[in-house]
């Protein structure tokens, strides 16, 4: 008898069936991966189990007995806990204060801290109950979330995309903790779309596509390639094919750049690098090490404190964004929905953002030209949309990213800064975005690729610059570097040897 079972779950949202007769069983002492592309319905399913959403029909059984879960409170009482992708912690509270937050009954912080310490030792979590959460690294904050669940006697832990924000080292630590919990009889569900982690960590994997379960398989009897095929529904190419390209002259150069963030903290501390024609230079690093500020400063969305930026040997440091664009720099920002696109405007309107000056007839917009441009964009880059009048916000993440990337590519700029181009996208979309970037490299464009995904950098880049705490701590040849080496460098544990 499985510890947890969901039977024939149906959940409809306006316009979509998110879950269609979904069955899933989770055993005690099992790490179960829930795999699927964005919109496959995996998050919805787990949110039903956690009481966030109600189901339209179906049943949930714990130890064979049917249960009603109407709210997260019910779920917690039944031993089900969830760690969300965005942590739900109060930064100014201590670990123990965060843990007891929301609990009923007498408040005894000292007793709670004692119990936390025991739990932390028992599960090798290494968390100090008195530490303030805001001073803890992300990886430790995640352990605090896990500790919160154990404190509430959770038997089933649901982790939503747990490795998205972790360094390689932190990821290894997390996996050790999870394996420990498994051996003590806890059930764990990890919701993810990263194939390699599943094969490494999970016992069984349930693959969802279009709201349905397509397969539940044991990880011992499957491969990454097989899982990718199940998830996408067709053969996918997990390795990008990079042809040799003659490296041209330097197009984009950055010299000794210093940049501050909104609160005045220096995030970029003396970065020097150059990107040549026909080359992809990757910037590796854990989020928050100054990569975003570097990209924004290059595009002049953020002023540089010190240092100089050159485009084709012409200094552009103090020029406006519009001038950067005019001199041949395109930018794909990390925040697709707030910076890269205006979600409330149509695809056609979004297609000319940044090049609105080229689609005019006198002071007026040239509607015919805009329509042709937008049609070309969605056909050429395979943006799936009913029409160019559709609001951009209605597009899926992958289609929106294709729209933004395609728009910047059609600008035909000599240099391009691309930030986290595949974050949160599913395998199918990643495949086509990678292909587009490589095609641009072959066309002799200079591309600066900022990514937290080491796989992506190893697949696409010619050289990889590792950024740590605002500095470039090493520039490596992508052909001869290993993931392990990069992993150590982005965690600040190793300088270039």
């Amino acid at each position: 008898m499985p510890a947890f079972e969901m039977r024939k779950i149906v959940k409809r949202f306006p316009g979509v069936v998110a879950n269609r007769d979904v069955d899933i069983t989770i055993e005690a002492g099992e790490i179960h991966a829930l795999l699927g592309e964005n919109g496959a319905g995996k998050s919805t399913l787990m949110q039903i189990l956690y009481g966030f959403h109600s189901m339209d029909s179906g049943s949930i059984l714990i130890d064979g007995k049917p249960v009603e879960i109407a709210s997260p409170r019910d779920a917690i009482a039944l031993g089900i806990g969830m760690v969300h992708q965005e942590f739900m912690l109060v930064p100014r509270f201590s670990v123990v204060e965060n843990t007891v937050l929301g609990l009923q009954g007498k408040l005894d912080l000292r007793e709670a801290a004692r119990r936390l310490r025991t739990l932390s030792e028992q599960h090798h979590l290494a968390v100090d109950p008195d530490a303030q959460v805001q001073h803890l690294p992300i990886g430790v904050q995640q352990r605090v979330e896990i500790l919160k669940l154990l404190y509430r006697d959770a038997r089933l832990l649901i982790l939503d995309e747990p490795t998205a924000v972790l360094t390689t080292h932190e990821k290894d630590q997390l996996f050790t903790v999870l394996r420990g919990l498994r051996s003590e009889g806890h059930s764990i569900v990890i919701v993810t779309h990263k194939l390699q982690e599943i094969v490494d960590l999970a016992d069984r994997v349930t693959v969802m596509r279009d709201g349905q379960v397509v397969a539940t398989v044991s990880t011992r009897e499957t491969t990454e390639q097989e899982l990718a095929r199940l998830m996408v529904g067709r053969e996918v190419n997990l390795r990008a094919v990079k042809v040799p390209v003659e490296r041209g002259k330097a197009i984009l150069r950055v010299e000794g750049l210093h940049v501050r963030d909104e609160v005045g903290q220096e995030k970029v501390r003396g970065v020097t690098l150059d990107v040549h024609a026909g080359e992809i230079v990757g910037i590796a690093g854990v989020d928050g090490n100054g990569q975003s500020q570097l990209a924004e400063a290059i595009m002049h969305l953020r002023p540089a404190d010190k240092g100089r930026i050159f485009l084709h040997d012409r200094e552009v440091t103090r020029l406006t964004v519009a001038q950067h664009r005019a001199f041949g720099l395109a930018y794909v920002p990390a925040d697709r929905r707030h910076v890269g696109a205006v979600t409330e405007m149509s695809i056609a309107d979004n297609a000319i953002l940044g090049s609105q000056g080229k689609h005019t007839k006198g002071p007026f917009l040239n509607t015919r030209k805009i329509r042709e441009h937008a049609e070309k964009l969605i056909t050429r880059f395979g943006v799936r949309a009913t029409s160019i009048a559709t609001k951009a916000g209605k597009l899926s993440g992958g289609n929106l990213q294709k729209l933004i990337l395609g728009r910047e590519i059609l600008e035909d700029a000599a240099a391009m800064v691309v930030e986290q181009p595949t974050r949160g996208l599913d395998v199918g979309a990643i495949e086509s975005i990678w292909a587009e970037l490589l095609a641009q490299r072959e066309r002799g464009k200079a591309i600066l690729l900022i990514s937290a995904e080491l796989e992506e950098l190893m697949n696409l880049a010619d050289r990889i610059a590792v950024m740590f705490e605002g500095r470039i701590v090493g520039i490596l040849n992508a052909a001869s570097v290993t993931t392990e080496k990069l992993g150590l460098m982005i965690s600040g544990l190793s300088e270039e040897s």
Binding site: P14, G15, M299, L301, T320, V321, A322, H324, R325, Y331, P333, D335, H338, V339, G340, A341, V342, T343, E344, M345, D349, I352, L353, G354, Q356, G357, T360, P363, F364, L365, T367
Partner: protein, 349 residues
């Protein structure tokens, strides 16, 4: 069996939208009927009085147009500024500044009537643009809060006009007001036997201009992007600060034209309290039109007409005209709330 079902996306066919709007107005009128019965009046007679005069009598219709013109101009100003992300509320100020600038020009210069009007349009637009532009500069340069500043500046403008009409521009006599403006400066009357004047034509022209600006021009595109997402606008190479100031210029200028229309078309002199709150009612009209420039005219006609009808209703049915204001407010509330109903459908099976 659920009788009411949530729709996948809100019903947005013209029929559904119209039905929702008309339904909202009817509900507002039903609620107001309860108020009428407090005065022992027959609601049907009261509504007849309210709507007959402004829409079914020639003279009353003239008055309706007189009220519509400034409302339209203010509503258009609201649309330009709000769509650009500039939450301007200083139209009372722009109105009186525009009225004062126009009166000054009319009283102190002697241009022929064909030269006067373009000059007055230019001068009052510039005065209103400068008035609203100040707020935009503070917001764009120093990040000041335009809502608070523009509201406060209304009082400044009203006090300036109070000073002008009781001091430098005061005509001899008991009341704080200027002398009657020279007849040559008046806007021509356009419907024989009524007080309707050419101000309504200016309002129509402005509607067309604002529609073209927002829907058809590059500047309008950049304004709307700035309003919806300033960070995306900057990414697209748009100078958000400059666009904000531009939007404020247009909004202030349109607000000042409302003052010009009132002075040259209706009052023919500058006096204290000349705006009568139109700087705020215009904003309500813009809301009623859902910030769509083409919907402003019907919304303003309805609103202006009801103001005219209110007096007739007071005379004929003995109901306080202030109830009309309650009705007007209820209509706006109901129309804004009616959107919710378009998200559901009724299942009769």
């Amino acid at each position: 069996m659920k009788l009411i079902e949530r729709r996948v996306s809100p019903a947005d066919s013209p029929l559904a939208v119209t039905t929702a709007m008309v339904g909202a107005a009817v509900v507002a009128m039903l609620i107001t009927s309860l108020l009428f019965t407090l005065y022992k009046a027959n609601p049907l007679q009261a509504y007849f009085a309210l709507f007959h005069e402004p829409f079914a009598s020639w003279r009353g219709f003239g008055y309706t147009l007189v009220r519509t013109a400034p409302l339209t101009l203010i509503a258009l100003g609201t649309i330009v500024s709000w769509r650009s992300g500039f939450g301007y509320l200083g139209f009372e100020g722009c109105f009186v500044i525009g009225a004062a600038a126009t009166s000054w020009l009319a009283l102190n210069t002697a241009f022929s009537s064909w030269a006067f009007l373009p000059l007055a349009l230019l001068l009052s637009f510039a005065a209103g643009a400068a008035w609203a532009g100040m707020v935009a500069l503070i917001r764009a340069r120093f990040g000041g809060n335009e809502v608070l500043i523009s509201l406060m500046m209304n009082y400044v403008a009203i006090l300036i006009v109070q000073y002008l009409v009781s001091g430098p521009m005061r005509a001899p006599g008991g009341v704080p007001e200027t002398a009657l403006l020279p007849r040559a400066t008046w806007l021509p009357f356009i419907l024989p036997g009524t007080r309707a004047h050419a101000g309504i034509l200016l309002a129509l022209l402005a509607t067309l201009l604002v529609w073209v600006l927002l829907r058809k021009s590059r500047v309008g595109y950049e304004l709307i992007v700035s309003g919806l997402s300033p960070s995306a606008a900057r990414f697209g190479g748009i100078n958000v600060g400059a666009r904000l100031v531009f939007a404020a210029f247009c909004a202030g200028g349109l607000g000042a034209w409302a003052g010009l229309v009132e002075v040259l078309g209706e009052q023919h002199r500058l006096m204290d309290g000349i705006s009568g709150g139109v700087g705020f009612t215009g904003i309500i009209v813009a809301l009623l039109a859902k910030l769509n420039p083409l919907a402003v005219i019907p919304a303003a006609v309805l609103y202006g007409g009801m103001t005219v009808g209110a007096n007739a209703m007071q005379r004929r049915a003995g109901i306080p005209s202030s109830i009309t204001f309650i009705l007007q407010s209820l209509i706006v509330l109901m129309v804004l709330a009616s959107d919710i109903f378009r998200r559901y459908r009724v299942k009769l099976t």
